[in-house]
C-alpha cells in the first residue's frame, strides 16, 4: 500500500509526457447489430478516480465489464499498466470489480467472502486472515466477520463488497453503480468514505454511475457517455462550467437553454439574437462562430439573479412572472415565465431571512452576467 495517491494538484492528463495507466483504444462492443460501446478511446492515469457517467443503456457498464474481462470487445485494444489484456481472462486480470448487486456469495460468511480472492491467489491462510482482519477494520465491519450476507443491512453488504474487491490490492478497481442501492443519506456518507479509502490505498478507481451528483463528488475526471460514445471528458468543474454540447449541459445539473442565432461580435462581447428570451443575449466571445449560425445558450439556474426591481445595466435582463416556488431549505427554486412563454428555472439561496420572500404571481426581473451564458453548437 506504498503507492502514493494522486496529489490534489497533480493533473497527469494535462501533462503530455505522462504515461497513461489504462489505455482504451478504439474499443467497440456489438451485441448483434447494436453497438453498446462504439469506438471509444480513453486514457486513464494512475491514482485517478474516474467516473463514467451516463443514462441507462449508454454502454458504461459494458465498457467496465470489458475492462474486467467479463465481456470480450468486438474490436479495439485495452492496455492496463502497459500490458495488452485482450488474451487475459477475467480470473488472471490485475483488476477487481464491485458489482451493482454486490454479488456476495450468499452461502459464505463475510470473512469467507473477503478471503476468497486471497486464497485463489495462493496467499498462505494465516497471512490472508490477517489481511482480511485489517480490511474489515478499514470498512468498519470487524464485528460482523462471522455473519452471512443476508444478516447484514444494505450499507453493510455494500462495504463487504468493497472489502472483497479491495483485498487483492488490484491495480485497478472497477465499481459498477457502487452506491445505487443505498438511501440518500447513507450514499452521501459513503461517497466520502470511498474517496478516503481510495486515497489511503492509492488504487486507481473507475466508477460507473448514472448519478451526476455522485460523479461530481467522487471523481478526478468524468467521462460523459451517450449511445456508446464518450461525449466529453473533463474535471468536474470543467464539465459543469464548460460543457461541450447540449446533451452534457442538460445531463449535468439543471440548465436553462435558449435557442438563438449569432449576431456580429460587438467589441469584446458576442451578441446572440434569441426571440425565445425576448432580448439579445450577450456572452463572452467564442471562436469559430459564423454570423447567423444557430446556437444554444445555456445558463445555470444559480447564475441568474432574481429581483423585484429592475437592476442597473442594460444587458441580459428579462422580465417575467413567478409561476412556481419550491422551498428546499438551503435554497428555493423559482420557475419564472417570460413574455415568450418560456419558463426559466432560477435558484436563490436562502442565506438571509427576507422579510418578504418573492412569491407566486409576482412580477420579477432576471439578470445575469455575460460570463454566465455558455454557447453550445452541438
Amino acid at each position: 500500500m506504498a503507492e502514493l495517491p494522486l496529489a490534489a494538484d497533480a493533473k497527469p492528463w494535462k501533462d503530455s509526457a505522462a504515461v497513461p495507466f489504462i489505455r482504451i483504444k478504439n474499443i467497440t462492443k456489438k451485441f448483434g447489430e447494436f453497438s453498446a460501446v462504439d469506438d471509444i478511446t480513453l486514457d486513464i492515469y494512475k491514482g485517478e478516480l474516474f467516473c463514467l457517467l451516463g443514462g441507462s443503456g449508454c454502454g458504461k457498464s459494458t465498457l467496465l465489464r470489458m475492462l474486467a474481462g467479463l465481456e470480450t470487445p468486438t474490436s479495439g485494444t485495452i492496455e492496463i499498466d502497459g500490458q495488452d489484456v485482450a488474451d487475459v481472462a477475467a480470473f488472471d486480470r490485475p483488476t477487481n470489480m464491485m458489482f451493482q448487486s454486490y454479488a456476495l456469495f450468499p452461502h459464505m460468511t463475510v470473512e469467507k467472502n473477503v478471503i476468497y480472492g486471497l486464497l485463489r491467489e495462493g496467499v498462505p491462510k494465516a497471512e490472508a486472515k490477517d489481511r482480511v482482519a485489517d480490511m474489515l477494520r478499514l470498512v468498519k465491519l470487524q464485528d460482523f466477520a462471522k455473519r452471512k450476507p443476508h444478516q447484514l443491512s444494505g450499507g453493510q453488504q455494500q462495504r463487504v463488497a468493497l472489502a472483497r474487491s479491495l483485498i487483492k490490492q488490484p491495480k485497478l478497481l472497477l465499481l459498477d453503480e457502487p452506491l445505487a442501492a443505498l438511501d440518500k443519506k447513507l450514499r452521501e456518507e459513503t461517497q466520502f468514505e470511498l474517496i478516503h479509502i481510495q486515497e489511503t490505498l492509492g488504487v486507481t478507481f473507475i466508477v460507473v454511475t448514472h448519478d451526476q451528483e455522485e460523479a461530481m463528488t467522487l471523481s478526478t475526471r468524468i467521462g460523459v457517455m451517450k449511445d456508446g460514445k464518450i461525449v466529453q471528458v473533463g474535471e468536474p468543474p470543467q464539465i459543469y462550467e464548460d460543457p461541450n454540447s447540449r446533451y452534457v449541459a442538460d445531463f449535468i445539473g439543471s440548465v436553462n437553454m435558449f435557442e438563438g442565432t449569432v449576431d456580429v461580435a460587438v467589441s469584446s462581447t458576442l451578441r446572440i439574437k434569441s426571440p425565445e428570451a425576448g432580448i439579445d443575449l450577450l456572452v463572452e466571445p467564442v471562436e469559430g462562430l459564423k454570423a447567423n449560425q444557430n446556437v444554444s445558450v445555456a445558463i445555470r439556474p444559480e447564475r441568474i439573479t432574481l429581483t423585484r426591481h429592475k437592476p442597473d445595466g442594460a444587458a441580459n435582463i428579462v422580465e417575467g412572472g413567478v409561476v412556481e416556488v419550491a422551498y428546499l431549505g438551503n435554497l428555493s427554486v423559482y420557475r419564472v415565465k417570460l413574455a415568450s412563454g418560456k419558463i426559466l428555472k432560477v435558484t436563490k439561496s436562502n442565506l438571509l431571512h427576507d422579510e418578504e420572500p418573492i412569491s407566486w404571481d409576482e412580477k420579477v426581473f432576471l439578470s445575469w452576467s455575460n460570463a454566465a451564458g455558455i454557447v453550445l453548437t452541438t
Partner: protein, 265 residues
C-alpha cells in the same frame, strides 16, 4: 372479510378424495383377516409375512438399486444439461434445445418405453451392448426420463441465480471449474437434492417403461406388485404399499425441509 361455507367444504372434500384411498389402504394393512375388504381386527402379521417373502424383498432391493443409480446419473446429466442451457446462452436454436430436453416430461410413457426397447434391441444387434435386458437397461431408461425432471428443476434455480455472483468469483481469480464447485454447486445444491429425490421417486414408481425394458431376473417392485395384484389383492400388498408411502413421505419431508432452509440465504 366474511368467508362462506363453500370454500372450506370444497377444500375438505378435495382432501378426503385425495387421502381416503391411502388412509384405508394403511388401515387395511393392519387387518387380521385375509380378505382385503373384511375387517378382522388389528394385526401386524402381514408385515412379518412381507419380510419373509423373498420375491418381494428381492424386487424391493432391485428397485432400490435402480432408483439410487438412475437418480444419481439423472442428477449429474440433468444438471449439466441445465447449466449448458442457461449459462452458454445466445446460441441459435436454444429454445428448441430447451424444448427437446423437457419433452420427455409430456411424452406418453408407452412411447418412451417402446422406443427405448427398440433402441436397446438394435444396439444389441449392432454392437452387442447392452447384452439382453435387465437392471442395466432399466437404469438407462429411468435415467433418460428422470434427467428431464432434474434439468427443469435445476434450470429454474439457475435462472433465479444472479450471474454476477459467479462473475465475482471469476473476477477474484477463480478458474471456471473452481467457480462451479465453490459457488454454483453450493447455490444450486437444494435443487440437486430435490431433483435427485424426484428422480428416485419416479424410478421407484415406474411400471410402464420398466415393463418394456426389463428382462428375466430384473423385476422391479411395481412389476411384482402389478403381477401379484392381477391374481387378487392381498393384505400383504397393502402392507408393502404402506411402507412405500412412509418412505416417500419421509423423503419428501427431508427435501422440503432442505429447500426451506436454503431459500433464506
Amino acid at each position: 372479510m366474511k368467508r362462506g361455507f363453500f370454500l372450506p367444504v370444497v377444500a375438505f372434500a378435495g382432501f378426503l378424495f385425495l387421502y381416503i384411498p391411502i388412509v384405508s389402504l394403511v388401515i387395511f394393512s393392519f387387518n387380521k383377516s385375509k380378505l382385503v375388504t373384511v375387517w378382522g381386527g388389528w394385526s401386524t402379521k402381514w408385515y412379518v409375512e412381507l419380510l419373509n417373502d423373498p420375491q418381494i424383498l428381492g424386487a424391493a432391493w432391485i428397485s432400490l438399486k435402480i432408483g439410487v443409480v438412475s437418480a444419481t446419473l439423472a442428477t449429474i446429466l440433468g444438471t449439466i444439461a441445465a447449466i449448458v442451457l442457461t449459462r452458454f446462452g445466445r446460441v441459435r436454436g436454444r429454445g428448441l434445445l430447451i424444448g427437446m430436453v423437457t419433452a420427455p416430461l409430456v411424452m406418453p410413457e408407452v412411447i418412451t418405453g417402446l422406443s427405448l426397447l427398440l433402441l436397446f434391441i438394435s444396439m444389441e444387434a449392432m454392437f452387442g451392448w447392452p447384452a439382453g435386458r435387465g437392471i442395466l437397461t432399466i437404469i438407462i431408461a429411468h435415467t433418460t426420463f428422470s434427467m428431464a425432471y432434474v434439468a427443469v428443476v435445476v434450470q429454474s434455480r439457475l435462472v433465479d441465480m444472479d450471474d454476477a455472483i459467479e462473475e465475482a468469483a471469476s473476477d477474484l481469480g477463480a478458474k471456471p471449474m473452481r467457480v462451479f464447485f465453490d459457488i454454483t454447486l453450493p447455490m444450486i445444491a437444494p435443487s440437486l437434492i430435490s431433483g435427485w429425490l424426484l428422480s428416485f421417486t419416479l424410478s421407484l414408481d415406474d411400471l410402464v417403461i420398466a415393463s418394456f425394458v426389463s428382462g428375466p431376473g430384473a423385476s422391479t417392485l411395481p412389476i411384482v406388485i402389478f403381477s401379484k395384484v392381477r391374481l387378487g389383492v392381498t393384505p400383504e400388498i397393502n402392507a408393502l404399499a404402506t411402507l412405500i408411502v412412509v418412505v416417500v413421505a419421509i423423503g419428501i419431508s427431508i427435501a422440503w425441509f432442505l429447500m426451506r432452509k436454503k431459500v433464506k440465504t
